[in-house]
Amino acid sequence: MLSTLTSLLLILPLLAAGLVALSPERLSKWIATAATLVIFAVSIAFAWSFTGWTDGSIAPRELGLSIMPSLGVNLSLGADAVGAMLILLTTFLMPLAMIGSFTAVKEREREYYAWFLLLQAAMLGVFLARDAIVFYTAYEFTLVPMYFLIAIYGGAERRAASIKFFLYTFFGSVLTLSGVIYIAAQNAAAAGSAWSFDLATLADFASTKLSPTQQYWVFILLMSGFAVKVPLFPVHTWLPLAHDQAPTAGSVILAGTLLKLGTYGIYRIALPAAPVGVVELNQFFAILCIIGIVYTALICWVQHDAKKLIAYSSVSHLGFCMLGLFSLNSIGATGSVMYMINHGLSTGALFLCIGMIYERYHTKDMDQLGGLFKRMPVWSFFMVFFTLASLGLPGLNGFIGEFLCLMGCFTAEPHSVSGYPGVLGPWYALVAGSGLVLAAMYLLIMLGKLVWGPLKEPHGHDHGHGHGHGHDHAAHSDSGLPTDLSAREVGILVPLAVVCLAIGFFPKPMLTAIAPSVDQTLAKYPKLVEQYAHDGSLIKPTTAKDPRVAMAQPSSDK
């Protein structure tokens, strides 16, 4: 049952994409919506019968289809609790993104919805992969639909944005692939030329058999791709541009799920495979996270474009998420996984809100828009609600992840009284914590401009005496939308708001599902961290001087 549902999760979006591509233009959006809803239902059934909720194990465990027997590549599908949650997030956001596109996309609809379904298939593939090649293929394949979605349906600079998005993340992931292949090759050499790309096998091999120096470099290779995807400072610059230019639904999925491919990759591959590298570079990456938090928060502060502001805030927020993960203790890592889910919900919702404004006013410029509460109280309610979720107000979803991430970082000090050693500590958390204050600043400035204050609308926009009679900018046909949100739009935002509130008050099922998975992932770390705190390095001084020498003879250990 479970393995059937698992396969369906991958097959259905592919089938639906084909169906949409062949369907008449007019029906495409309905077919896509129906398909995503069905997939959501399947994912609920999947979650219902999923067996990994309580013990952190990967389910189902059946071996899948063998694709390349000579290389040991299997199409094995399965997820642990973290993957399962990200699957639910993806399938939940997708129908909302589809319905949210009804009025925004008027041309080449069929293609649009087909790309989205392909994108969904690819993302689910990443979260379901138990094989490194399947993982990588799906991971890379997400780029293609997203590229077309930005390049065809994006804003004025869509070409530059789509190319940069594609090349930047592609370049990063090639390095990741080389890291994976390196591990696999070492494994094959050790096992007598029998190749395997099973993620668990590779991780087990790499973490136990590779030398510290090898792990160090493997980690750097793996992170090169994942860090771009997350994105970490300073490899984040593709994101604001891509968000700015992507269509609304593209931004929702980009922020909601695509960025999580990076964090999930780190969680699922880098942390288990290269613990020595993780610990060795822990402080370095934590500092990058913290710089990213503060630096992008300050950039958010001076943005004029609401969508860019939220895009930059994603970089800042994911800094928190990664900081929690890199604190290498259960509090931080559990918080980090919570953060992955909740950032997807609240930021996705914020992009939807901004998209609704864009459809009405054809601008996202906060200097041209203001005081919309007067015009659109319903929209304003949701905007305020999701902004509060985004700034981590307790009682809404964002808080728990953020609080735990910071707490994990804070308690991760070498001589922690509490017995959770780590190599970060209070100073890291203190600087990162300033991000809480800065987030309040830039998000409330955004609310202060967009929602509150005297009403300001772009010149030429008619002042709301009955919205029907024509806009004067002839370039845009009237979207036919009411002044305030339509029932369809409210229908998109309400489920998101309900989920945000529910997670805020009842996070326990999620936490108890995440904790065992985190427990397994981190099992190796306390010892390494202690050793690192004691010796100052896990790489022996002789090799540490020039790690490249060690790289030249990788198999010298055995």
Binding site: L167, Y168, P234, T237, W238, Y295, T296, L298, I299, C300, W301, V302, Q303, N329, S330, G371, P377, L393, P394, G395, F399, F403, L406, M407, F410, T411, S416, V417, S418, G419, Y420, P426, A429, G433, S434, L436, V437, A440, M441, L444, I445, G448, W452, G453, P454, H463, H465, F505, F506, P507, K508, L511, A515, P516, D519, L522, A523, K524, P526, K527
Partner: protein
């Protein structure tokens, strides 16, 4: 059950500032009491009310229904609190588990499981009950008052207003009743949210939007401190539940051994949170601006309840503060300085609501002083009395505003006591002023004195100095309070209406839109204020407002009853409540009086330091009132002359200017923090766009292309062009930095 509890009571050692021979205080272990699960109604009722108000807003209810819903549910919450108070045995705190909230466990790399537990549970002891009684009680009264006060907004902001008030009561309940620090944090930020929504209620006014933002951000700085404190508590005690912390403290707390740095930092972090929420130096500037909100909100949130959350936090975690010898001293110094500075600003304000706002900051300072010098009873008693009389003062200001078309300038109103319909306001206002000024035998007099007396009684030279400063502040308080009353209610009857912006909530809403299309809008609710000035009449309040004023006035008077009980040798009710909670002190501070036969106030010839303080404090208070009477009732021109005299003398002119301009604290913040941060933001944005993305990324992408072209362009004369471009670029950057500097942010 009870025997068991007393066996496992936690014995805490309190520090040396409380005098020699301070013996262990015992905090009984909490008893899990599912039978009190109905106490959850105190949180549930406002939550339901908030949801219903939301529905009213969604369905565009045009009646006063949201107000009625809120008032009824708050009254019900008050009734629940009252019956909880009556039914709960006083032997030990009760813990009521409502539902699981944050709960997960792990055993990473070890054999034992560690649990992170923050259930949605209530910790109920007498401190909780005391706080909740006045929070829900005043909340109900002010909600009733607001049903009339906000009526001009019926069908517009009405539901939003009452929904926010309900959210506030829910959050405040979680803050006070929550059984762990994370739940306290939920309430902590929740009240911040309610405050944000309500300060910014008149969203059409940019100043209100800015004030709301400022309040939230300032509080966030404090919240960060609180969060860090929570982390430290977790590191040190492995639990975030009060009961667990007190138990852990009983095993580890020994002042002689000295705490680790991480335990020693706890009170300072918590303090930062408390100072943010309770508007103390250096985070006090948001509170005066918060007066942009509707007046009932100022009374409820920004005077009586929310701003006392910082006090509650310290009182609740007092055993943690007691571990670190200097922590309470810092609290005392900060509190007393805030009290003094805010009083000096309050003296020079013309907006009566702002005077009251600064006096709130100042009185909160007194309360922190009380906590710092070691009289939790005095501090909490002052919280209690202040809640009544300050709410009363604000509601009076609101009623005046309501009746005078938003007039708040004390120079433009006079003799209101003789205006028809303003009788109740004037005389209840007087009683509130007497309490605030510390007039003998009023509630404020007793509570303030118990704080100042303790400062003198402690014998600690720092505290004695603070005691003198507190006495000086008491004098200033009496002066500025009666400056308001004599100006507004005393003297000949004379008034002019306000600009109708404030009072009626929302005639002003459309003004920002220009006149072109403003007139057709339905929210131009024309009331009396729309008439021309020549036919304008002030209108007195009706039943809801007058009734609530009288009831709260009665409360303010009756708040003195516990002190009278103490004078008759009975137990002071508030003191009993405090002594049965985690804020308990080792020995009743009254005992000290006799021991310090020679104290700082010995010149009065009174041996008992409490009596001496009472005499001195009433003297300075009455002196302040008399001086106010001279300058603002009998000889008003003298006040202006004095100001002119000070301004014309170059040596003294800084004094009135600094006081009128709030000691330039906002400006200092701007220069020290906002401006540099905004420049950094622009610089980072520039770096991001042009250096990281433009130069490194795009440049990197161009490397292959450029390598090919490397040898071509050297001879085409473009070099000069590049040089010119570079110079131009540098000039542009310089101009741009200058532009930012000119424009602030």
């Amino acid at each position: 059950m009870i025997e068991l509890a007393s066996l496992s009571t936690a014995a805490l050692h309190l520090p040396a500032i409380l005098g020699e021979g301070a013996h262990a205080v015992t905090i009984p272990s909490a008893i899990a009491s599912p039978e009190f699960a109905w106490a959850g109604l105190i949180l549930l009722l406002p939550a339901i009310s908030a949801a219903l108000c939301g529905l009213c807003a969604a369905f565009g209810v045009k009646s006063k229904l949201p107000g009625a819903i809120t008032a009824i549910s708050l009254i019900a919450a008050f009734a629940t609190t009252l019956s909880l108070y009556l039914k709960m045995p006083a032997d030990a705190p009760r813990v009521v588990h409502l539902f699981d909230w944050i709960d997960f466990s792990w055993k990473t790399g070890g054999a034992t499981w560690t649990q992170f537990l923050a259930p949605f549970s209530l910790y109920i002891d007498s401190l909780t009950l005391l706080w909740m009684l006045f929070v829900t009680g005043l909340g109900s009264l002010i909600a009733i008052y607001a049903t009339e006060y906000m009526e001009a907004d019926t069908g517009k902001g009405y539901a939003r207003f009452f929904g926010s008030v309900s959210i506030f009561l829910f959050a405040m309940g979680s803050l006070v009743m929550g059984g762990n620090l994370i739940l306290l944090y939920l309430g902590w930020e929740g009240v911040g949210l309610a405050s944000y929504l309500l300060i910014g209620y008149y969203y059409n006014r940019p100043s209100a939007v800015a004030a709301a933002k400022k309040a939230f951000i300032m509080n966030r700085i404090g919240d960060l401190g609180l969060a860090l404190g929570v982390f430290l508590i977790w590191i040190n005690y492995g639990t975030l539940e009060y009961d667990g912390i007190f138990k852990a403290l009983a095993h580890t707390a020994d002042p002689a051994s000295g705490a680790s740095w991480s335990a020693a930092m706890i009170p300072y972090c918590l303090m930062l949170g408390a100072f943010g929420k309770s508007a103390q130096i250096p985070l006090f500037v948001w509170l005066p601006d918060a007066m942009e909100g509707p007046t009932p909100v100022s009374a409820l949130i920004h005077a009586a309840t929310m701003v006392t959350a910082g006090l509650y936090l310290i009182a609740r975690t007092y055993p943690l503060f007691a571990l670190e010898p200097h922590a309470l001293t810092v609290v005392a110094i900060v509190g007393c300085s805030t009290a003094f500075v805010a009083a000096t600003i309050g003296m020079a304000q013309y907006d009566i609501k702002r005077v009251m706002a600064y006096s709130t900051v100042s009185q909160l300072g007194y309360m922190f002083l009380g906590l710092g010098v070691g009289t939790t009873f005095g501090a909490v008693y002052h919280v209690f009395t202040h809640a009544f009389f300050k709410a009363l003062l604000f509601l009076c200001c609101g009623a005046i505003m309501h009746g005078m078309a938003g007039q708040l300038d004390l120079r433009k109103m006079s003799g209101l006591r003789n205006v028809k319909g303003f009788g109740v306001i004037s005389w209840t206002f007087l009683i509130g002023c007497l309490c605030l000024a510390g007039f003998p035998f009023t509630a404020g007099f007793f509570s303030k004195d118990s704080i100042i007396a303790q400062a003198f009684a402690s014998g600690n030279p720092t505290f004695v100095t603070l005691g003198w400063l507190a006495l000086l502040t008491a004098f200033l308080t009496a002066y500025y309070t009666f400056r308001v009353w004599f100006r507004v209610c005393g003297g000949p009857t004379k008034y002019e209406p306000g600009d109708e912006m404030h009072g009626h909530d929302d005639h002003g809403h459309d003004h920002g839109n220009g006149h072109g299309h403003g007139h057709g809008h339905d929210d131009h609710g024309h009331g009396h204020a729309a008439h021309g000035n020549h036919e304008w009449h002030p209108h007195g309040p009706r039943l809801a407002i007058n009734g609530v004023l009288l009831v709260i006035c009665l409360g303010a008077v009756l708040a003195a009853v516990p002190a009278y009980m103490a004078m008759r040798g009975e137990a002071n009710w508030v003191e009993t409540m405090v002594q049965h909670s985690s804020a308990a002190l080792p020995s009743a501070e009254h005992g000290h009086g006799g021991e310090h036969a020679h104290h700082a106030l010995s010149f009065t010839g009174i041996e008992d330091v409490h009596k001496a303080t009472s005499v001195v404090a009433s003297t300075v208070g009455i002196l302040g009132i008399l001086i106010a009477a001279y300058f603002h009732l009998l000889n008003r021109s003298a006040a202006d002359k004095l100001r002119q005299a000070l301004l014309s003398n170059s040596l003294t002119r800084w004094l009135p200017l600094a006081m009128e301009n709030k000691w330039y604290v906002d400006e200092v913040y701007h220069v020290v923090f906002r401006f540099p941060a905004s420049v950094l933001g622009h610089v980072f944005h520039f770096i991001d766009k042009h250096v990281i993305d433009g130069f490194v990324v795009n440049g990197g992408a161009r490397v292959p292309l450029e390598v090919g072209r490397l040898f071509q362009p050297l001879y085409n004369g473009a070099l000069q062009g590049y040089a010119a471009t570079m110079a131009g670029g540098i000039a542009l950057i310089a101009a741009w930095v200058f532009w930012i500097w000119l424009h602030g942010s």
